[in-house]
């Protein structure tokens, strides 16, 4: 304890103080980090886990790594040249406990390129971390969305099949192809089944009880040449996201013969369907189809 008072006066005590500007920046960034994190954690503790506010706070979380990276850069900028020798420049806590050390000469300024490098290296590391964290997330979201659409269609009597033997031009590599050859549950017609599926994919799930139903879409079914069906661009839910994305839904069936109304829906698909053992197809492709499609 008696040593502490002697430290600044000793010959082997610190000879320099850190560069003042970068040191102030370090302390400022650490303060921002601490306050921001504490505020965020407090919000997470009091808010409900599925709310938008909690979502925003969690989305903000990775950016605190950037603040820390800049803070590391500023610290390195403040002390560069004194790292190799223990105790050459006064540490922040020493400066705090011994104000007289603040009168020591500051470390000599660094050339601009070296200072820039000291900030760039940690920022680049965090950037690499971000890039690694966001790799392939789009594919993951697309897969979970496809799986959820498949599951809900399977509940309505559809079976998923490979798209490779479907007529070219109607399917994309990321399409979901479903067929049905049995009666639909509850004796529904094909059009009602497809409408029920689309409505099911438009539910919004929140933490406030029951899922919220979206307003019903007007999906016109046209009958001609022994088939009924249509192609529409509809906004459907995507997993892990709040909002909806446009999907192209193509539905054709030869199960419910009806009086002709208007032009034939998807003639190539209809003639192909006549040669198949199943009676209905449902194709779901991410993205809006070519213009000219009835978009509700």
């Amino acid at each position: 304890m008696t040593e502490r008072a002697l430290t600044p006066a000793r010959e082997d005590g610190p000879q320099f103080r850190p560069r003042p500007g970068p040191l102030r920046l370090t302390l400022l960034l650490q303060g921002v980090f601490l306050l921001g994190m504490l505020t965020g954690l407090a919000v997470l503790v009091v808010s409900s886990p599925l709310s938008r506010l909690a979502d925003r706070v969690v989305a903000l979380f990775p950016w605190w790594f950037l603040v820390q990276a800049l803070s590391f850069g500023a610290y390195a900028h403040a002390y560069w040249g004194a790292f190799g020798t223990l105790g050459k420049a006064a540490a922040p806590l020493q400066l705090w406990r011994h104000p007289e050390l603040r009168t020591l000469p500051a470390l000599p300024p660094l050339p601009l390129w070296r200072a820039a490098l000291l900030y760039a290296v940690p920022v680049a590391l965090v950037g690499g971390m971000f890039a690694w964290g966001s790799r392939d997330l789009g594919a993951q979201v697309a897969r979970y969305t496809t799986n959820s659409q498949w599951t809900s269609a399977a509940r309505l009597g559809f079976t998923r099949v490979s798209c490779r033997d479907f007529p070219a031009g109607r399917v994309q590599p990321d399409s979901l192809c479903l067929v049905a050859w049995q009666d639909f549950p509850q004796g529904r017609s094909f059009a009602d089944t497809v409408r029920a599926w689309v409505q099911g994919e438009r539910l919004t799930f929140t933490d406030a009880g029951q899922p919220v139903e979206a307003p019903a879409l007007n999906l016109p079914f046209r009958q001609a040449g022994g088939v009924t069906g249509g192609q529409w661009t509809v906004p459907l839910r995507r997993i892990t996201e709040d909002d909806t994305h446009p999907f192209t839904v193509t539905a054709v069936s030869r199960r419910d013969p009806a009086p002709e109304s208007g032009a034939a829906p998807a003639p190539d698909l209809a003639s192909w369907l006549r040669g198949q053992a199943f009676h209905s197809v449902l194709i779901v492709t991410p993205g809006a189809s070519s213009p000219g499609v009835t978009a509700p």
């Binding site: 099949v161 490979s162 199943f278």
Partner: protein, 222 residues
């Protein structure tokens, strides 16, 4: 406080932090996942290496006068323990994972098969070899596509690149050799699969449910 005592305190704190990391690393090694726990190992090696390095830096040589060293002269004290921990830890973990390589890679495959909605069941045959069976209510060609993405997601490779399909009547079937990852090693497996044809089918579809498309993954000889 003199620098030596400060360094000893730092070493003790870093040692405590490293000790806190070890349970996580042990859990990573014990959990049935096929990936090598590089992040945990590197983290533990860095912090324990720094703790050991600080100790050595402070206390070396044990007898005689300890010179004041600049950072270049003290670097080996930190680098050598860190590298030794990294290499030794990697060897140790690899030996542990190699003992149950089949189970690890099968488990990784089952996990990624679940991601594409394939249901895993146990193999009917009471064979001594490691084996798993997956099935789904899809047609044969789609089963092959789903299996391919499951194998690729599990970090495996398919011999020949794609899964071959042979059609026999209203069924398609095939067999392929795949290698799955278990830690740092590759384990060979045989993948057999068959499923019904629905699109372009000659016979009519039955009123009852079609037989499920299914596949078995069995350990192959090295």
């Amino acid at each position: 406080m003199n620098p030596r005592r400060q360094m000893l305190i730092s070493a003790a704190l870093m040692g405590a932090a490293g000790a806190l990391q070890l349970p996580g690393l042990l859990r990573d090694v014990q959990r049935p996942a096929a990936d090598f726990p590089w992040p945990g190992l590197i983290g533990a090696a860095l912090i324990l290496g720094a703790a050991l390095g600080t100790l050595l830096h402070t206390l070396w040589p044990v007898r005689g006068e300890r010179p004041v060293r600049d950072w270049r002269a003290s670097l080996p004290f930190y680098l050598l323990p860190t590298l030794a921990l990294l290499l030794g830890g990697a060897l140790l973990i690899d030996r542990v994972q190699a003992q149950r390589g089949d189970a690890l890679s099968l488990n990784a495959f089952v996990q990624s098969a679940r991601e594409v909605e394939l249901r895993a069941t146990s193999c009917a045959s009471g064979a001594a070899r490691s084996c798993t069976r997956v099935q789904a209510n899809v047609d044969g060609p789609l089963l092959a596509e789903l299996l391919q993405s499951a194998v690729t997601d599990a970090g495996g490779r398919i011999a020949g690149g794609a899964l071959p399909l042979t059609r026999q009547g209203d069924r398609v079937m095939g067999e392929a050799r795949v290698t799955l990852r278990a830690g740092l090693r590759q384990v060979p497996f045989t993948l057999r699969y068959d499923g019904p044809v629905i699109v372009g089918r000659a016979a009519s579809l039955p009123d009852s449910a079609l037989p499920l498309a299914q596949a078995t993954l069995e350990r192959a000889d090295d």
